[in-house]
Symmetry: C2
Subunit: 238 residues, 2 copies
């Protein structure tokens, strides 16, 4: 592997089509040089930030995989999302200048640090950046509403099917296979995200395997029947 690049540059980042700079042209991108000040690496299991900490920057995942979770006072814990390369972390912190969730690396990861006040400054200068940023926040809201639909209306099999389809779709957008993947999270974390207990997740995986929809060996997955999964999500409401 090459030595760490000295300079961070969205212009030369292969995630620029997925990340904050979507829609910016070459000459606009040059203006972002100063925005993404530095990187930070987060070893597996470590926190990128914690609930209650002061909010100062957004983070764009560069490599690796994260989860975010909110917890109530009494120790309840809910995974609110999983983030992969090109996705933004920390948007919840804007509301009160403090983070409202924990962000934990599920594998050794690195992020680009985007100081928030600089982002506001720059987005006043560059309409395209401003609009991209707003779209990203809005997309997060839409995503959350989708999860609410899932948690409120679907049964265990449908939830897991929807989750897996979402995951493979995002992996595919990043150039990975749509059928073969390695889960970076535990059954318990999947369960927390989907509002299920880990045993139910495990059982549902086993059932999917019995039904020939996929091969499951621990965290190694091979999707055999995408359409059947899709049908599960759609045809359910019976």
């Amino acid at each position: 592997m090459l030595p760490e690049p000295l300079k961070v540059a969205c212009a030369s980042c292969n995630l620029r089509e997925l990340c904050l700079p979507v829609g910016l042209h070459a000459r606009d991108l040059a203006q972002l040089e100063g925005l993404v000040a530095k990187r930070r690496s987060v070893p597996r299991g470590e926190h990128l930030f914690r609930n209650g900490e002061r909010f100062e920057a957004l983070y764009a995942v560069r490599t690796g995989f994260f989860k975010t979770c909110v917890g109530s006072e009494d120790g309840r814990d809910q995974v609110t999302g999983f983030q992969m390369a090109g996705e933004l972390l920390g948007l919840d912190g804007i509301s009160s200048d403090h983070h409202h969730c924990d962000a934990v690396a599920l594998e050794d990861s690195s992020v680009c640090v985007i100081p928030y006040d600089q982002l506001e400054d720059l987005s006043r200068e560059f309409t395209v950046l401003q609009h991209s940023f707003h779209k990203i926040m809005s997309r997060e809201i839409v995503r959350d509403h989708g999860v609410m639909l899932l948690l409120g209306n679907m049964r265990a099999e449908e939830r897991l099917a929807a989750f897996l389809l979402n995951l493979t779709q995002r992996l595919q957008a990043r150039g990975f296979s749509a059928s073969s993947l390695v889960l970076r999270m535990t059954r318990e974390e999947i369960g927390s995200y989907l509002g299920l207990k880990l045993e139910t997740v495990s059982r549902t995986f086993s059932k999917f395997q019995e039904d020939g929809l996929m091969e499951v060996k621990q965290r190694q997955l091979r999707i055999l029947d995408h359409e059947a999964l899709q049908a599960l999500v759609n045809d359910s409401h019976c």
Copy 2:
């Protein structure tokens, strides 16, 4: 229907402390004159906008009460939120220039229309407005994560308790009583929001009444024991 009101002015609106202009001073407010172009009234049961429609403006609730809901192709339907005076509708539309949910008035209502491109223009000029807007979007994300926690971890009683506490808190912020309220939505709509069936909502109301936590007569509520409700939400995880 009445002729269109003459002039809309945030500066003279008694919702300005709750609505988009939070934090703006008198001289800044004057600049918003042009932003909130007009009002629109929405009779009970009518749509403010529908899923799929082109997104052009945000709406601030002026009077009345709304619900937003997303639906999947197969007719499943999930209420994603209830909005009262001072709250913003339509944020989900920014992501793709099309609305991603339906917004329906639950009583005769009126909204301020905020053309979105003008909001972007103005927020490039006024740092405070820009920041307020970002905070509002972020707050919506935080709220959604709270609902995910509720849907993923709580049992029926806790969900309804959390819902009622949230409702009374928002009503109180608007100068209403914290203990006496009229529900603007049906049991089915509450259930949809909370991931429960309407029968379960009804039964849980009855149980709360038996336990002396509140009086329930159809949609008329009187909260008798706020702290017991709060305890339900907190001490539950057992």
